[in-house]
């Protein structure tokens, strides 16, 4: 009994340390967002600002950059990416999970191989492609390269596999076509997996700095991370206060999305739990 409780206490201490480690950047971000430039550069670090500049920092964000515009851009881009990914990934996953056809194994292996390819590796070819069709510097440039998500196909396929074939057959007996089965049975049942994938996709593309930096020139298409880098310029130096204030603002949607979908997300990540 004693051993178990020591192990438990030890485990919890480790978890608490881990949690603090993860939390520190957020605390620094929040605290810096409230401090004046002088306070930030003063020696030592305090969580509570000695010289407050919260209002000034946030005001500067709104005055210097179109942060709302950036957020809307982020919203448009992430939502479109997710919707297109779902439209493509769900039928692919259904076919890979439930149909018998020649080359199925090979195709699924392709999906697995694609999971191993880092996006940076293909950035230049994609850039050149988009250049040749004249799509650079637009929303399309931000969305199209991400429209096929192998991770999405993989997650959905694993979830569909766990759905018994009998339910699909029951759908066929009840008069559903394949599309109806997909829309009325498979997708509603796979909602946890879809949510999990949605959150992963949203976070990845909301936070993406690399790709928008490459393919955009026009500020009006900037996504939030790229937009707030305005405060981090090589010639004017870094204005940490407003930068962190802006970072705070663009983190809010992430938190909101995650918290609303938390239960489904956890269900979806522990994949087999969803079907009973």
């Amino acid at each position: 009994m004693k051993n178990i409780s020591y192990a438990k206490i030890g485990g919890h201490i480790l978890l608490i340390i881990g949690a603090c480690f993860m939390l520190v950047p957020f605390i620094v971000m929040l605290s810096t967002a409230l401090k004046s430039q002088a306070n930030i550069f003063a020696g030592g670090f305090s969580v509570i600002p000695t010289e407050w500049a919260a209002v000034e920092n946030f005001q500067e964000v709104y005055q210097k950059i179109p942060i709302i515009r950036f957020m809307i851009n982020g919203g448009i881009v992430t939502t479109s990416i997710f919707l297109i990914q779902v439209v493509i990934a769900v039928p692919c996953a259904y076919a890979l999970a439930k149909y018998k056809f020649a080359g199925k194994r090979f195709l699924f292996n392709c999906v697995l191989w694609c999971l191993l390819i880092p996006p940076q590796a293909v950035a230049i070819p994609i850039f050149l492609e988009l250049y040749s069709v004249g799509m650079l510097n637009s929303y399309a440039a931000l969305i199209v390269p991400w429209s096929i998500s192998v991770l999405g196909i993989f997650i959905m396929r694993q979830f569909f596999l766990a759905i018994p074939d009998d339910i699909i057959d029951a759908g066929r007996m009840d008069g559903m076509g394949e599309l109806s089965i997909l829309m009325r049975v498979m997708v509603p049942m796979a909602l946890p997996a879809l949510t999990a994938f949605g959150i992963l996709s949203f976070i990845a593309h909301w936070n993406d700095y690399f790709w928008p930096l490459i393919c955009l020139q026009d500020v009006k298409y900037y996504t939030p991370p790229l937009g707030i880098s305005y405060f981090n310029t090589s010639d004017a130096g870094v204005s940490y206060g407003p930068l962190m204030a802006a970072a705070c603002i663009i983190t809010i949607p992430l938190l909101a999305v995650f918290l609303t979908a938390r239960d489904k997300f956890i269900q979806g990540v522990s994949i087999q739990a969803g079907v009973k």
Binding site: P164, D166, I167, D169, A170, G171, R172, M173, D174, G175, M176, S180, R184, V185, P188, M189, L191, V275, K276
Partner: protein, 401 residues
Amino acid sequence: MASITVQNIRKSFGTTPVLHDINLEIKDGEFLSLLGSSGCGKSTLLRIIAGLERESGGKLLIGGKSMSNISPKDRGVSMVFQSYALYPHLTVFENIAMPLIMRKLGRLQRLPVVGKMLGNARTINKEILEKVTTLAESLDIDSLLDRKPSQLSGGQRQRVALGRAMVREPEVFLMDEPLSNLDSKMRAHMRTELAELHRSLGTTFVYVTHDQEEAMTMSDRVALMMDGEILQVSSPREIYRNPIHMKVAEFIGTPKINILPCSSIERGVADCFGFKIKTQSSAKNINSLGIRPSRLKAQPRDSAGCPAQVINVEDLGSSFLVHAIIADSVRVISRMDSRAHIPVVGEEICFTPQEDCGIFFDEEGWNVNNKSSRQMVDACQEQVSESADRGYYGLQPSAAV
């Protein structure tokens, strides 16, 4: 309502043959069970009838119409699955209503919100509501309509699955071991309900099961399947009393029928471990005697019969099962009335097969009294099904075991 004709249906998965040349005639309004151990192809045959599996060869007619290239939804058949296969994200009402929603409403009318306003969607929805409610009442699940399947017990789920199959009034019901996930009490109860349901609907039922008790109690006829072939199709009584093959005799009946080696010594008489028994047949090629445990009487050692030694006795309450070994080689079981004198383990006894109750098989295992040979199985099936129509009185006296 419709009859089903299965003609030379074959099926193989890859190179593995699952069904060889199945021929079966299921009459309009009949309750036919496909009985067999797991892997014998009975579920595959059912799925072919349903249209969920495509036959590799042969012909299937439902109501006289060829079913090749007709999708499951257009065959007028409903199916109840072993796992019930209810939609877990829909309520009981939506589950039962689904076949009607898919059939009666158009594609656009099925859309959420907008669909309700299109055409006569409102009246159709009202009809569906009424129909589902009435059906739910008759199945005694009307209080559960708002629940999700996960909130139901096994028996309730079973009823919902039945409701979903019944709601569109199909011509044929297909059931794939629908009772095997229930506990034994519930199973016995649902068995009666299914039989009553069949009687009141008068629809053709095809019922797949590995449980001979289910097959025997509910069916008009039983089709016994083994290794992808139908061995015998006849009434439960006939298949029990007059099995055409030793395999059938061994499959039907618990405890298993005793098979004793024996040979004919003269016309109409066979010898079994020194015991002379009448065969009611002039057949010379008798190789073994099948005798049901309840027809094998244990007698004191000095009486006429096959000498045996008791190796185990099981008390079932109403009766005893006496396991014994004859001539150190053949194990037999005898069912004895609990009021009889029960031998003890190790006791030397004699077994007397009851006259007229033996079934005699030739070297290949065919019943010598049942004239059918392997080539004549089809003809026999027809003949047997005729006798099934005539019921009990149509049976041969020799078959009355």
